[in-house]
Assembly symmetry: C2
Homo-oligomer: 444 residues x 2
């Protein structure tokens, strides 16, 4: 029995299992997480809490695993309104004949706000507490995230050509810096530069972004080597593979998040490792669009930080990080021709600490550690599909459904509990989604 | 208004969408299925039912899709008790160091019965109404299936070597024919021969099985070309690839279900097509054990019947046919390097009519058609992850979770409703599973 003064806490969450992710592979049984002022202040054996912690409230989750809130490293939240609108067709046709015409017709501040609401509601319900988002009207996504109390990093889009959001690269970049200024002191809203891809952004804006990203200390979030075709076309027109061009422009650094990266030479893997760049792996999207296979085990072995994302709903078709973890773990094995590649505990790292690292937020989220924000997801493992239980990490990655998420806290605030969104109104989301569906269907 | 006498029905299920699977690609909106004496007697527009159908009971599923009950073409149900016991290791090590030692120690009639109960409960909860099963003590699985009112085809195992179930090939085959005799008149329980694999069953028993299968009119269910290693070893020891040997032994016919088939030459694909053999595709298992990639689109193009299975829980780790359909559809695209390969509606065929065809049961199940058994699964699509809805098949395959299954009927009998098993006791299943978990953990 300790004679020290008990630690004060707002909330004490007791759980059958806690998987803090850091230190790697740790499984704590019958432990509790203590939260005060939005942060984790202690993780300790449940039996010791009575003497050591004085909590205002407590909750007992006797069949559950606590994991860090999942971090979805790449998506386009508003595109949730286009879920399933065009399946089973190649990327080029999907973009040019399906997605872009609809976007040109419908994307607006309202579309983005309501699409983001749908995406955020789905993400919270499936245990995600932080997401990176690349889309037009990022200020709308910021407001939606703040209202819902979920963490976001907005990769403000940059393109050479005009869209409803900006006229030219200069204006896109201006809006990105303006967004950054507006949220520089926010705990929940972070920003990044989101130059769309090497084939849509020219050298001048990329160099400017490189300089500004360093000044503002934010990531550069970019689709890189998604398909073989884009790499070949670059070689034909520019004489270089896109990554080589980015390297020569000085963009390779720990700030760079290369989304997809399904086409990498061994020398390019070394290049990414040497510069500390991250890869955002979106396996379901890569498969669905037949884009290519990311060499996850090889990247990890080389020391590259690989993080997990769902991509947008139009190419996935959901924002379920559980099915994404499973897909990543399964796929990595066949790609590496090694059944021991990307084991379950490492797949969970891709969706938590590695994703936080890619976003530059690993000092504050991505694991359950004292001092970090209390971004926590509870998963009820007392289900037919997750029994018996020899290993909770295995159940989470290979057997659990996202619907087993029972509680979600973001910054210590309960935002989801037993099927109920605590900060959002499901009915009004549903209503606005139905209205968009009708409008979009009529226009097809 | 019809002046004919109304059709009598026990139950009328109205649904927002009906996907009968046959005719291919059909989506019926606001239709109803009428059931009498375990079978479907009509499918008609809901608005016409008042005049044409007189039903004892009716149910309205206004946000739901009705699909044929899913047919899981390959598994080892009792192995559900070993879910997650050994992950992230190669097939050989997985079998020799993890699975076989535990099986040798624990497999018994009781183990099989209680393992099958767990598997059946999970399958029913996730919309499966028929499964093929290859494991020892198949008579126990038969009894479990009858009690739960689920359809099963028992691939009675045959091996050259002794196990707890039989001493030699002769005894295995005798037990398979005995099982067939016991259930020859059952509507729910069907049988097949389950010679484990070319490398575990020698020529004599295979020829005997071939003859008996034809006499008894039942399938031959066999692991074939699961890994490159087994094919290479056969070439070294026998001078032939296993499929060539099976062909020469006369086993290739519409009765043959080749499980996995990840290693196929183009000539072998032609051979399977020419003989009308089926392939049981288990994508999650193939990925998890890094066994290889089944060329699904190529097989289908060649006219081979490809059906979908989960494999056992020890290599998957669940019996969720929704995640399996999604995995199959996604994976087929990258294997074919074609985003239009295995579209959603075809993935649903693999899990329904094609699976029924492989089992020789397509005259009675596998689609929602008048005259077939009323094996029906209802999926509630009014969830955040399945809205908006432009295409119900797309939502089912690419976005739905198995937990959205709301109702399951097998032979017209309601066996699952809104989370509740109607023919099984979840509490007693849980209790027996916990007991096995404890025993197995203590022995490790």
């Amino acid at each position: 029995m300790s004679t020290e003064k008990p630690l004060q806490a707002d909330l004490l969450i007791h759980a059958k299992w806690i998987l803090p992710v850091v230190p790697a592979g740790t499984v704590l049984e019958d432990h509790a997480v203590a939260i005060r002022d939005r942060k984790i202040v202690a993780i300790t054996a449940s039996k010791d809490t009575q003497s050591s912690i004085s909590a205002t409230a407590s909750i007992h989750l006797n069949q559950h695993a606590l994991i860090p809130g999942l971090v979805n490293v790449h998506g386009h939240s508003a595109m949730s309104l286009l879920r399933g609108i065009a399946d089973d067709i190649p990327l080029k046709q999907w973009l040019e004949q399906a997605v872009w015409p609809i976007e040109n017709k419908f994307v607006s501040a309202e579309f983005v706000r309501q699409g983001a609401n749908l995406a955020i509601a789905e993400m919270i319900s499936s245990g995600t507490t932080c997401f990176a988002d690349m889309y037009f009207f990022p200020d709308e996504v910021a407001r939606a995230a703040l209202d819902a109390n979920i963490r976001v990093q907005l990769a403000s889009p940059v393109l050479d050509f005009p869209t409803v959001w900006a006229q030219d690269a200069e204006e896109y970049i201006y809006k990105a810096t303006e967004l950054h200024d507006n949220y520089r002191n926010s705990e929940l809203v972070h920003t990044a530069f989101g130059p769309h891809a090497p084939y849509t952004v020219s050298d001048q804006p990329l160099m400017k972004i490189s300089t500004l990203a360093e000044e503002l200390d934010v990531p550069i979030h970019m689709h890189v080597h998604e398909t073989a075709q884009e790499v070949e076309e670059a070689v034909q027109t520019d004489g270089r593979r896109p990554l080589q061009r980015l390297a020569e422009l000085g963009l390779l650094s720990p700030r760079l998040i290369c989304v997809h990266a399904t086409q990498l030479l061994d020398t390019e893997i070394e290049l990414l490792a040497a510069h500390g760049a991250s890869v955002a792996h979106c396996p379901e999207s890569n498969l669905k669009l037949a884009s290519g296979l990311c060499q996850v085990a090889k990247l990890l072995d080389a020391g590259v930080n690989v993080a997990l994302g769902t991509d947008g709903c139009a190419s996935n078709n959901d924002l379920d990080m559980f099915s994404e973890m499973r897909c990543a773990a399964l796929l990595a094995k066949i790609v590496a021709a090694d059944a021991s590649a990307l084991p379950a505990s490492q797949a969970l790292e891709l969706a938590t600490i590695n994703a936080a690292r890619a976003l530059g937020l690993d000092a504050v989220i991505g694991s359950l550690e004292t001092g970090k924000y209390a971004d926590i997801t509870a998963v009820n493992l007392d289900r037919l599909n997750t029994m018996p239980l020899y290993n909770p990490v295995s159940q989470l990655v290979y057997a659990a459904q996202a619907s087993q998420v029972s509680h979600v806290w973001c910054g210590g605030r309960l935002i989801f509990e037993e099927g109920e969104l605590k900060t959002m109104d499901r009915g009004s989301i549903r209503k606005s989604v139905m209205a968009w569906q009708q409008k979009i269907e009529q226009a097809r």
